[in-house]
């Protein structure tokens, strides 16, 4: 009487238990099938030829290196030949892992350079696929024409009227410019350099010694004075040039201007330089991108 009363009051208990068991069992089975067990650490995954401290050595690389080492298709290589290649690859992987453990990228300049060059090669590779048009090359040539010229030379006398200091203690900049303008007038009228030196207290800087190639003259005169000298022909006198150390007047003794090579004469160089410039630009763009996402702290008082 009690049993029948119980079943009549709880008719679904066996069904509920069966359902719970089914759900748990099926859930476990499904989970097991959908989530395979963790990779056996002692097992080489498919596609790899070896695992070295869990780092894979790719089967593809192994086949390629075996073929390269023996000069025949992989199928024709012997077991010993393959073993030799695999040993070398494993050795190399060990050395690479050791280099990382030793933090060589931070400590070895050669490693750092190789890593940096590797990134550059990756980011500049697409640049090479863009063929420049003739117009682009000609525009590049026009913008860099000085690079495609023979080296000129100049023998120039650089006179300076120093402002202040021992030689002209009381001279103002305005007075110095006025004196220099007068000196230029005298020189252009036929006066000699010695006269100007004595009369206006100019001195020779000696920056350019004898006949110098343009690059040397540019180096010695500095950009401002070189720009003024570059415009002069034999015997010409420049306008006064205000520079950091005083007012300069340049007298060109002899000028051999550079000879520019026309575009057709240097097409090969222009092409090479253009591609190099594009690669340099791609490298700079990549660095800008990296800097945008980087946190860079510079010590107080330091510039980069």
């Amino acid at each position: 009487m009690r049993w029948s009363a119980a079943t009549s009051h709880r008719p679904a208990r066996p069904v509920v238990l069966a359902m719970v068991a089914a759900v748990v069992g099926l859930g476990a089975a499904g989970f097991g099938l959908l989530h395979p067990a963790h990779r056996d650490l002692a097992q080489v995954p498919p596609g790899d030829i070896a695992l070295v401290n869990q780092e894979p050595v790719l089967m593809s690389d192994f086949i390629s290196e075996t073929e390269q080492a023996n000069g025949v298709p992989f199928a024709q290589t012997t077991r010993a030949e393959r073993a030799a290649v695999l040993r070398r690859m494993i050795d190399e992987e060990l050395m690479v892992q050791r280099s990382l453990a030793l933090d060589l990228p931070e400590q070895d300049t050669d490693v750092r350079t190789a890593l940096s060059d590797g990134v550059t090669a990756l980011v500049t590779a697409p640049v090479l696929s863009d063929h420049p048009s003739d117009d682009q090359l000609r525009a590049f040539y026009a913008a860099h024409r000085a690079n495609y010229a023979t080296q000129g030379s100049m023998a120039v006398t650089d006179l300076v009227l120093r402002i202040g200091g021992f030689e002209n203690a009381d001279q103002s900049p305005e007075q110095a410019m006025a004196d220099a303008a007068q000196a230029v007038y005298e020189l252009r009228s036929g006066a000699g350099i010695d006269f100007v030196k004595q009369h206006f207290a100019f001195s020779e800087t000696g920056k350019v010694t004898g006949e110098e190639p343009d690059f040397a003259a540019r180096l010695h005169l500095g950009p401002k004075l070189y720009a003024a000298a570059d415009k002069l022909s034999d015997g010409e006198v420049s306008e006064p040039v205000q520079d950091a150390d005083g007012v300069h007047v340049l007298v060109m003794q002899h000028r051999q201007p550079p000879v520019f090579t026309d575009y057709d004469g240097v097409r090969n160089n222009v092409y090479t330089d253009y591609v190099a410039a594009q690669k340099a630009q791609a490298k700079q763009d990549n660095l800008k991108f990296l800097r945008r996402g980087a946190q860079i702290l510079v010590a107080p008082g330091q510039d980069e």
Binding site: V15, A22, L33, F74, S129
Partner: protein, 245 residues
Amino acid sequence: MSEPLPAPPRRRLWIGLAVAVVALGIGAVGYALLQAHQAQLGARLLAAMPDDVDKHPDLVRYADAEAGPLFAKNCSGCHGLDLKGRGIGAPDLTDSIWLYGSGVFHIERTITYGIRSGQKKANDITEMPAFGQRGQLSDTDIKNIVQYLLQLNHRPYNDQAAFLGKQAYETKGQCFDCHAGDAKGIIDYGAPDLTANVWDFGGSPQDLYDSIYYGRHGIMPAWIGRLTPEQIRALAVYVDTASKR
């Protein structure tokens, strides 16, 4: 002798629910088994030696099914959904001509590391120089070589110009260095066969002129790190299969 009473409504609900759960479970197990089977096929595909995959039809079928959507998403932009290339330097993958070696292994290497991708293992031994733009060949030289190429491919050509073009090919242009003396190309360099009348950058006389004048520098990105090894293997099998149909 009264008739048995029907099951209470609540009991019938529980039984219905139980049947539904069991059916759902059977479906889940079936799906899981299918997934496990697919995973097993994927592992077998990757474990097989690349050039042995075609000996296993089930692996080829699996690779084709896996690679189809991958190709459509990642490769068709250049090679076209039909794998025939889109005339922009991306070659037809359905023919039997391979610049860097045929077969699953070589195709897989190309997909993995690319062509002139900047990867050290990429195929990038050489490139076609811009002979005209660099001033190494004159306009006339190039036009003569184009006529020689037309002759090699049994297309209409100018006899005298082709004769001079052959001379330029063998001397001034040094074309033989990469394309071989018989113009059949050298796979080691990725230099194509110039007698097969298959042109990645177009085969019209003007296209041929442009290829010599401006040079060619086709690139293909490396997919290592962007696709899994299994996906790359599947794509290699897919492409290899397409080229053999």
